[in-house]
Amino acid sequence: MDDLESRLSRLTAPDLKPPVFPTADVAYTLHDTPIGTMLLAVANGRVVASSFGDEETMTNRLARAVSTRVLRQPRPLDDVRRQLDEYLAGRRHEFDLEVDLALATPFQRLVLTDLPTYTSYGRTTTYGELAGELHKPKAARAVGTALGGNPVCVVLPCHRVIGSSGALTGYAGGLDAKRFLLNLEAKS
């Protein structure tokens, strides 16, 4: 590239404006909470993600499973954020949100869909007990794996399910987050 060509390519324009868009098919935001940064996403007014997963991985999964028109737009998440904050402050015991398990496998859907009815605020159940509720008494391990991949964490309370020994076992947001949530529910 000669001098003239490099002068042409060096054009700098100050104060560029980012584009604005109508509401996306999938709107998401990154929300800082006491248990870590969560990626929250809605599609058609339903929560499709409430996750500790990283932005690139999660938005790629959403693009494949729901729609490629995925945008970072905080406004459509206002209600989700508010309810989550209330819950995390101990002021809310149930979520008034519709959930869409587009990111879940068929077995995860089976395990997650009725989780709020098989568990209750402030109480824990075990993987084995939950497997029994689902009429799959031998599937405790598979149930654990399904819960571990919960795309709608906290809203679908997989944190209330623990090992039969009482060990917390695991959590997508880390064991500290699981302990925080269980302590919160025990106190509130």
Binding site: D2, L4, R7, S9, R10, L16, P19, A63, A65
Partner: protein, 165 residues
């Protein structure tokens, strides 16, 4: 279930994050500081509307810059006063306002190029597109793009008194 198994397009936000500055810069270079932002915004609206129907994930940057160039062309045509005959002046009246740019002498000279040459060198150097990309944006062939760019460079060298490097 994925809507289409054959192509896996990235989430639209990834395109915005990776390319919005390039689109905005190209739009300013093609349409000037006043209209450039409108051109960029319109280009993004078009891209957003078309994205769900897109069948190839290749060259998304080039695809965005092509849409930007077309929006700039549309605006240019809409602004051009109606004339009974197509006697458009060689001087682009709505190009970048050279006085506000770094390197004003260069951009004043670019501004005076015929429209297709001005678009071609802007796409090539500000947009950093190859001749295939420039050709796609201008609805022409790579050979014609190469010619437009070399004619434009020759004119600029004469005007600015710079020698071939």
């Amino acid at each position: 279930m994925a809507p289409d198994k054959t192509v896996s397009l990235p989430p639209f936000q990834a395109l915005v994050d990776a390319h919005w500055r390039d689109v905005a810069r190209l739009a300013r270079a093609l349409a000037g500081p006043v209209d450039g932002d409108d051109v960029a915004q319109r280009a993004w609206e078009k891209a957003f509307a078309a994205y769900s129907g897109l069948t190839s994930a290749k060259n998304l940057r080039s695809w965005l810059l092509t849409i930007t160039a077309r929006c700039a062309t549309d605006l240019h045509r809409a602004r051009r006063p109606q004339r009974p005959l197509d006697e458009a002046p060689a001087v682009a009246v709505d190009g970048p306002d050279a006085a506000d740019w770094p390197d004003p002498d260069l951009w004043r000279a670019v501004n005076e190029l015929p429209e297709r040459q001005r678009f071609a060198i802007t796409l090539k150097y500000v947009g950093d597109l190859d001749h295939h990309g420039v050709a796609a944006a201008l609805d022409t062939t790579p050979a014609a793009s190469r010619r437009l760019v070399s004619d434009a460079l020759a004119t600029l060298r004469t005007k600015l008194g710079v020698h071939h490097g």
